[in-house]
């Protein structure tokens, strides 16, 4: 091996904050913007993505010695498509209302760059244990990002959180926050805040040395 590959623990921790898929790598933006108008759809989407990500990581890691370089992307997408079909049928069978509300965004998990990039970067090179740790870490990071955006949008846009009223009754709901423009504005501002915090931290680390 030419370069040292990260261990399972490093992969797991990296996924949550240092290499957060949304705030650091800007991957998988489509569901991040589309389903975060409330906590419930956001968490359903995070669960479905986690299932697909971890399963695809396991399978790709198991077949990594059989992969041909020029066909690997196709194999990745077909693996992911299989698991997305399973997740989609499962949601349609058990939480039909939510599956209707998420609509085309469940099948669109197939083209979520996050999953393909994890297959390419981690699980096609390392063993099953590391691939599972990586999948769980990245899925947690993704869920955290979805939850943060959905919290801002649901509280400002409809005054509720997980469907429970949190703002006082006189709160005028900011309708724009649950509509498409609110998604772009919220994510843009949160990205700015994340960037600002990490800059502050690196400056402080520099000055304390």
């Amino acid at each position: 091996m030419a370069q040292e590959q990260p261990t399972a623990l490093e992969r797991f921790v990296n996924g949550i904050l240092p290499e957060n898929p949304v705030y650091r790598q800007l991957l998988g933006m489509c569901p991040v913007l589309a389903v975060t108008n409330g906590m419930k759809p956001a968490m359903t989407m995070a669960g479905a993505t986690a299932f697909v990500l971890i399963s695809a990581n396991i399978i790709v890691s198991l077949i990594r010695h059989l992969l041909k370089p020029h066909l690997r992307i196709l194999v990745f997408t077909l693996t992911i498509a299989t698991f997305v079909t399973i997740a989609d049928r499962f949601l349609a069978a058990y939480v039909y209302e939510m599956s209707k509300q998420l609509g085309p965004y469940v099948p669109l998990i197939i083209v979520n760059c996050l999953i393909i990039s994890r297959c390419e970067i981690c699980s096609s090179k390392q063993g099953v244990g590391v691939a599972i740790a990586d999948g769980v870490g990245m899925a947690l990071g993704f869920a955290l990002a979805l939850a943060s955006i959905a919290t801002v949008r649901e509280i400002l846009g409809s005054g509720t959180w997980f469907g429970l009223r949190v703002m006082p009754g006189v709160w005028p709901n900011w309708g724009i926050m649950v509509l498409p423009p609110g998604a772009f504005l919220t994510l843009g501002l949160l990205l700015g805040i994340a960037e600002w915090v990490s800059r502050r931290r690196s400056e402080r680390a520099k000055s304390s040395q």
Partner: protein, 230 residues
């Protein structure tokens, strides 16, 4: 006349009112990644429009003849094989796998074609051409077409599917070209440090999405102007 109006409404709906990028959020990755220069952005838009039309043509054909519930081909195979004619034949569980396969192979085809016949264009696309495979916009168009082929009261024909795809592609091109124009000017502005790059691009996109919300209701206006009911 009736059909033609329907097609215009589908086109305007896909390109402006429910713009793929600014209303459905599909195709955000190239929208943020390739929108630094107007010329590349326009090229990317054209490539996506082209691939989306080919994918729509293929996926409509496959869905109509093979994948939708009670499609003719599996029904025929089932009866040849001696199955019970009363059984409900439905292959739609396979549709996601088939679509992603169709998209991946049409992108491969377009890549080979462009490399052979337009080498300069191929160079300027660089890594972004293969990335169209993971462009949500194309799969999204296929899924919309599938949705309209499963509703037996309003089955879509090939012309409607292609119109939706081209409209979506044009809408994507409009959005990404506008974005690239704004970002070229943003380079000269004094943007607060942490917002530089993706942050300010997303805020600009938010304001553009608000502007595009102004198109809401245009379809009703066209319908009443052309004098069909509602």
């Amino acid at each position: 006349m009736e059909t033609f109006t329907g097609l215009i409404l589908i086109f305007i709906g896909a390109a402006l009112i429910n713009n793929f990028v600014l209303h459905y959020f599909v195709g955000i990755c190239p929208f943020l990644g390739v929108s630094r220069r107007t010329s590349t952005a326009f090229g990317m838009g054209c490539a996506v429009t082209f691939v989306i039309s080919i994918a729509a043509l293929l996926s409509w054909t496959l869905t109509h003849f093979v994948l939708r519930p009670e499609a003719p081909l599996p029904r025929w195979v089932w009866e040849i094989a001696g199955g019970n004619p009363a059984t409900h034949v439905d292959l739609s569980v396979l549709s996601y796998i088939v679509y992603i396969f169709v998209i991946a192979s049409s992108v491969q085809f377009v890549e080979m074609y462009v490399r052979k016949f337009f080498p300069p264009l191929y160079k300027s696309f660089g890594v972004y051409l293969p990335l169209i495979t993971t462009n949500c916009a194309i799969l999204f168009a296929c899924l919309e077409i599938m949705k309209h082929l499963q509703d037996p009261t309003n089955l879509w024909g090939l012309h409607e599917a292609i119109t939706l795809a081209v409209g979506g592609g044009v809408g994507f091109t409009i959005a990404i070209s506008l974005m690239a124009g704004i970002r070229e000017d943003l380079d000269l502005c004094d943007v607060p440090g942490p917002l530089r790059g993706a942050g300010i691009a997303l805020i600009v996109a938010g304001i553009m999405a608000m502007a595009f919300m102004g198109f809401t209701g245009v379809d009703k206006g066209i319908q009443s102007a052309l004098g069909i009911g509602f």
